[in-house]
Symmetry: C2
Subunit: 782 residues, 2 copies
């Protein structure tokens, strides 16, 4: 396997970088992340670069120590490979680069690179590499390097290292001071935090081993690494330093000869095995793997990826760019979530960067969960189990303010305690989201019920979800504020999803979801009382739940103030919103995203009706039966022009609701803003990680937007609309343990219910009932 | 030379570290700095350490780029040496340390280290090293390492690197926020700045070469390095990376065998030679040196150090600790200033650390210059030439505020422009020192005249000093504010040396020195008119100086308001000072330094009579003839109890003036605070560099305090007092091209004027005239 390019998939599966632009290095690092749910590793150059933001993140490995707030730890770098020709390093920074290309192969979950280096002595070396995080064997990371001496004979030295001298980014002060000395002085700099301490390093039969531990949390992290050459006679040397270990091979190379090298790293932490087993596990896995060839291992990895894509690929015919972009979003959803880790979730930037420090938001339940529920329910279950397993921190959080039950934190890391920073890192601006975005708690409940209704996982409902349903209801019960004068319950000084407006009263989104949470909790109590009274009794005893509490939830839910007058169409985002200053948006940037009106910015939009993202449209989407079509349309028409989309969560909702209300032009425009968010970097910060919620939102934009799919009354329902230039879309949905295959074109749906059940599957298409037969295609003309 | 310990001098010359304490690592890095005026290199471990603040500073090499303000650049590390035994690194962080000792040998200007490492395999290795910056050949840095395999036979690999992947420390935000999430969260972190870009790297006959350049300034910096083993048959390997180059030697070692290695690095910059000659100069110097043995080169270095000590050693008999501490201060003064570099000066932390970013303050003229003038006038000249060579930046500075002449910047780097940060690095606190500590300008003039009066260097006076004398007078002329009502000149909203009080009116120190500056400038005009009318004419034409300006200076000087009523004894530090709140100091720390009274700190002492350092006592010291003995005593008694000494510049002045006013007990107490400031770290920040002004002040405390030496009317005068427990002090003073040797005990002075002149030297002892004969000891009984 001398030309690694031969491993690449067809062009619809590739994301390419041609030519090296140092200003784009951090952007490509993010989008070229490889991973397997166990870890993510940014697409940094193997040999390092001064401008790199290198990062490997092990899912669930957090640490606090000297950071502003808890960090998803930048784990030791397993990529580190340097190649020297007669002592001179092949480096993007010192050699002439005759060509440079990299290709992310999404189908194979691997990154390919080819670089031709001309060094100071005129030697030309062709360097190819592929790297991947093994999808079938998640503790294994592989790099395969091919070196060709184009115009010389000489000596090649390759060094494969494990480098734990890595840092997390931390505060990012941006200073801007005008003085007579430096009229334009401006800083934008990264401070960094150390999270890793040395534990041990040693030489092994296969190569080297290094173990470190996090500073405050008890995680031990062990990496074993081996390096092999295709050519006999290489001189091997190994060395172990404090937080660095290195193995090198030196071998002669003749003109036109190609030599290949494989570096394999196995990773275990004390989250995976007991502390004392970290080293034996890592070392023995490498040892076992050494019996197989690289190609054998690669094929196992490839097979695992094929199975993933088979479950979740969405095909858009007639729009290659959109088809490609959706695959790109799906690729990143596939590499970041684990089906087996019940204590980890998905940070706002996935495992592709340090933005938001790996913290978990409502993004999981509201934006990403539908993708996982409908394509990989076992991963969806793991994501929801994380909420179950962090519930004690969430319980503490409720108690801190003398409330009852469970209150989920706006930003969550490994314990369920709130990890939102209360101030910006420069200490200048108060951040209220942690304390006031109460709607995260109902979002978690939304996720639990969504998972349950889609999968029918009764064990999950009684064993895990029920406790959270009841305890969140108890939280709301204790948290709601009674307005004596008006005989209603309120929530004052809260923050809805629209973070431009802080400390508002009676956010309609928050209040409606609170009411819904209380009602759903009561409803499931009733359901469980009928279906599983014994287990409900055990749970009720465990949490001392009394029946009168349930009545109380319903009483309070009935009196929660929803600032919406059914006689009028417009829903007020919060009390007083309609009295705010109207400042029209009049300019859009080159990505068609709104520009702040002159004089306005994040911190003073509070005074205006401008939105960061649309609370009301969100509400009409996620509680679809609550409002009439006419209300949905009126509110879309009102709020859409006022929305700045300063959250990547905003455009996908505008696609879905745009289609629902018949504003197709806007819907398509927003689909582009959503599906290309990272490929074109339209939020301007892809360098610090993917907008992974937007990736989930883009999947929803296709399935629930163009496909018009909603869950209503426990049934799948569809109201499609296909862009005129598209030929068809097709996707698969896991449903109650079975599969529903869906293809849609301009004239018809084709459904296939794959099941071992007998009977029919009731669905709805355009408000009409349809019964799908088992294992037989059914055509529904539109 | 197998046991490097044999090279050490006698115990009075040694500063020792016994045992390794990671919490003290940065402290020892500072005090164990080696240097030669061309550079300083902190006493970091050769092999690195995670807690290190490693630093090499090339005098005069500044850069701005992303730092808050201009930095003295942390230059590439030449020390970097790692030793591996069968692949395992000898590291303080991973091996068991059987013993660890380091010794700074001040006489030989070198750092010795011995460490016995026991690695994970039980192998015990004795490691010794010495390092020095060559004093006779300032571009050469040497490290000599000896390795003994105590209980094994194996393979030793030694790596000698040049590492330009170094960073400057930068902003240091200290946050302290109490939240319910993190009740005790506290940050103290270092951000870092990159100043070096790669230029080239190459393999050379002797070893390796690496060249980098600063980002904004045009400095190229080239290092050539060679590594040699005492044992034949070592396998050599070299590699060059982007900002890193490495040479390694691998050789077998038998049990009980000792192998020695020498690493030599030569350094040139484009400040030394033209840009294109940087590499040839560095490479050829190493090549030439390779003809000499290490010991030969060491002896040349030693001889140069002996000559330095001969010129400036002060011997205190009867107090070994004080004698030793004064040598320590003198050592640091000797390694930081260059006699040949007319464009560099001494930063507030010398070349031993990054505190104050290598910026130059009044510390040079007021605190350190007397030491250099009296012991190494050529170095004193270089320091003053720096002021001449930065005068154009200082001229711009005056013009920026529409003033005339030359205004020196409070903090100065390479150009003479102001480099004081206008804000603290967190942007929260305004720093006024740069704009308002006007007295730096008269301090420069004080230095020029001090140098001239001591050396009689007439060429310097007319060729360099005169222009500054006249142009600073012009600055004051344009800067003084006329008070019409009171018919006087004032300076309002200024800051004196006491930085607790900002924006004060008519600071007595500032006004008195301004008056003195104007009068001296006029006086020297008259002197030069008589002694050197031709050159004065040329200078006057060059700067368009008119005779009437000089009259004007004297007119204004006569009307400068000095807030001192000769009928009263007390001098008011500034207008209104006596009305401030009295807050007594009642507690002292373990180093006998005052503790802020409850509720007070740096930022609110403004409201009180508490001082950071004593303006009035400074004034009575540096203009000794201005005030009567009675006034000096009254003010000492008044201000001393109100002084917090939050500047290391404060204690030495209290020694000197304490002796002058007869408060011997206080004087001795303050001498300890001054002379031990860094050895006992009594300011708590020696980790970021030496308090080098205090080192100069400690020399003055002995010579001008105990020796009672003052310059009055162009004559040396003495009024001694010796602590009862001391036997004697002796020192040498360079005087008008000759030398005066002085020994003082409790009963007499012994003077020796070494000269080729005829006649006698008129001095004063206790206000009586004494005429010293040439080259013959003279005893003056006390």
């Amino acid at each position: 396997m001398q030309n690694l390019k031969n491993l690449l998939s067809g062009p619809e599966w590739l994301v390419e970088e041609n030519g090296f632009d140092v200003d784009r290095i951090n952007f490509y690092e993010t989008i070229f992340t490889v991973g397997n749910g166990y870890l993510g590793t940014r697409g940094s150059l193997e040999e390092g670069h001064a401008a790199a933001l290198q990062g490997t993140y092990l899912n669930g490995v957090y640490d606090h120590h000297q950071s502003f707030v808890v960090d998803l730890v930048n784990a030791p770098d397993w990529l580190d490979i340097s190649v020297y020709i007669d002592g001179e390093k092949l480096s993007m920074q010192t050699c002439e680069i005759l060509n440079f290309e990299r290709t992310l192969d999404m189908k194979n979950g691997m990154l390919f690179r080819e670089t031709r280096f001309q060094d100071s002595q005129g030697r030309i070396t062709k360097y190819q590499s592929i790297r991947f995080a093994h999808m079938a064997s998640p503790h294994v990371m592989e790099t395969y390097v091919s070196i060709t001496a184009e115009n010389y004979s000489g000596v090649v030295t390759i060094e494969g290292a494990i480098n734990a001298n890595v840092l997390n980014l931390d505060v990012e002060p941006v200073f801007k001071t005008k003085t007579k000395f430096d009229p334009d002085v401006k800083w934008h700099k990264w401070a960094k935090s150390v999270h890793l301490d040395h534990v041990s390093g040693s030489l092994t039969n296969e190569g080297i081993y290094l173990e470190v531990k996090t500073k405050d949390r008890p995680h031990h992290i062990g990496y074993a690494s081996s390096l092999k050459a295709s050519k006999e006679g290489a001189i091997s040397s190994k060395k172990i330093d404090h937080k660095y270990a290195l193995q090198s091979l030196t071998v002669s190379i003749e003109q036109s000869e190609t030599i290949t090298f494989e570096k394999q790293v196995s990773i275990f932490t004390s989250r995976d095995v007991s502390k004392k087993d970290v080293k034996p596990s890592a070392v023995s896995l490498l040892s076992e793997n050494s019996n197989d060839s690289f190609l054998t291992r690669f094929k196992t990895h490839q097979a695992a990826w094929n199975a993933k894509w088979d479950a979740c690929e969405v095909i858009i015919e007639g729009d290659d760019a959109a088809n490609h972009a959706l695959k790109f979003n799906t690729y990143h959803l596939l590499i970041t979530a684990s089906p087996v880790d019940y204590h980890a979730n998905i940070g706002a930037k996935s495992l592709s960067g340090e933005g938001y420090k790996g913290h978990v938001f409502w993004d999981t339940e509201i934006f990403m969960l539908p993708f996982y529920v409908f394509t990989q329910p076992e991963t969806a279950k793991a994501l929801m189990m994380y909420r179950y397993n962090t519930k004690e921190g969430a319980r503490d959080y409720a108690q801190e303010d003398n409330h009852k039950g469970i209150r989920y934190p706006w930003e969550s890391a490994d314990t369920g305690h709130e990890v939102t920073p209360p101030w910006t890192s420069d200490g200048l601006v108060r951040i209220w989201t942690g304390e006031r975005e109460l709607h995260i708690t109902s979002a978690v409940v939304f996720g639990l019920i969504y998972y349950y209704e889609t999968t029918g996982d009764n064990d999950f409902l009684i064993d895990f979800a029920a406790e959270i349903l009841f305890e969140t209801a108890r939280f709301w019960d204790s948290r709601l504020e009674y307005n004596n004068e008006l005989d209603r319950y309120e929530l004052t000084e809260v923050e809805g999803p629209d973070e431009f407006h802080e400390l508002v009263n009676n956010s309609v989104y928050t209040n409606a979801l609170t009411k819904w949470n209380l009602e759903k909790s009561a409803e499931y109590y009733t359901i469980l009382k009928a279906s599983n009274p014994n287990k409900l009794k055990i749970l009720s005893d465990k949490i001392s739940l009394q029946e009168h509490e349930i009545e109380n939830w319903l009483d309070k839910a009935a009196k929660i103030y929803i600032p919406f007058d059914p006689d009028k169409s417009l829903i007020e985002e919060f009390e007083g919103y309609f009295n705010l200053k109207e400042v029209p948006i009049t300019e859009w940037d080159e990505n068609d995203m709104p520009i702040y009106p002159e004089g306005y910015h994040h911190d003073n939009c509070q005074e205006t009706t401008l939105l960061k993202q649309p609370d009301v449209l969100m509400l009409t989407y996620i509680l679809p039966s609550m409002f009439s079509d006419q209300v949905k349309k009126a509110n879309y028409d009102y709020y859409e022009p006022r929305t700045m989309h300063k959250s990547s969560l905003s455009p996908c909702i505008h696609t879905i609701m745009g289609i629902e209300v018949g504003n197709y032009e806007k819907a398509l425009q927003y689909f582009e803003r959503s599906v290309y968010v990272d490929l074109v970097d339209n939020q301007g910060n892809t360098n610090t990680g993917m907008h992974i919620a937007s990736a989930g939102g883009s999947w929803q934009a296709v399935v629930s937007g163009f496909g018009g799919m909603r869950l209503k009354g426990g049934k799948l329902t569809f109201k499609p609309w296909l862009p005129p230039s598209w030929t068809s879309i097709s996707f698969k949905l896991k449903w109650q343990g079975d599969e529903v295959h869906v293809t849609l074109n301009h004239t018809k749906f084709v459904f296939l219910w794959k099941t071992e059940k007998s009977g029919k599957l009731d669905i709805e298409v355009k408000d009409s009932a349809v019964a799908l037969p088992a294992n037989q295609e059914m055509i529904v003309m539109l």
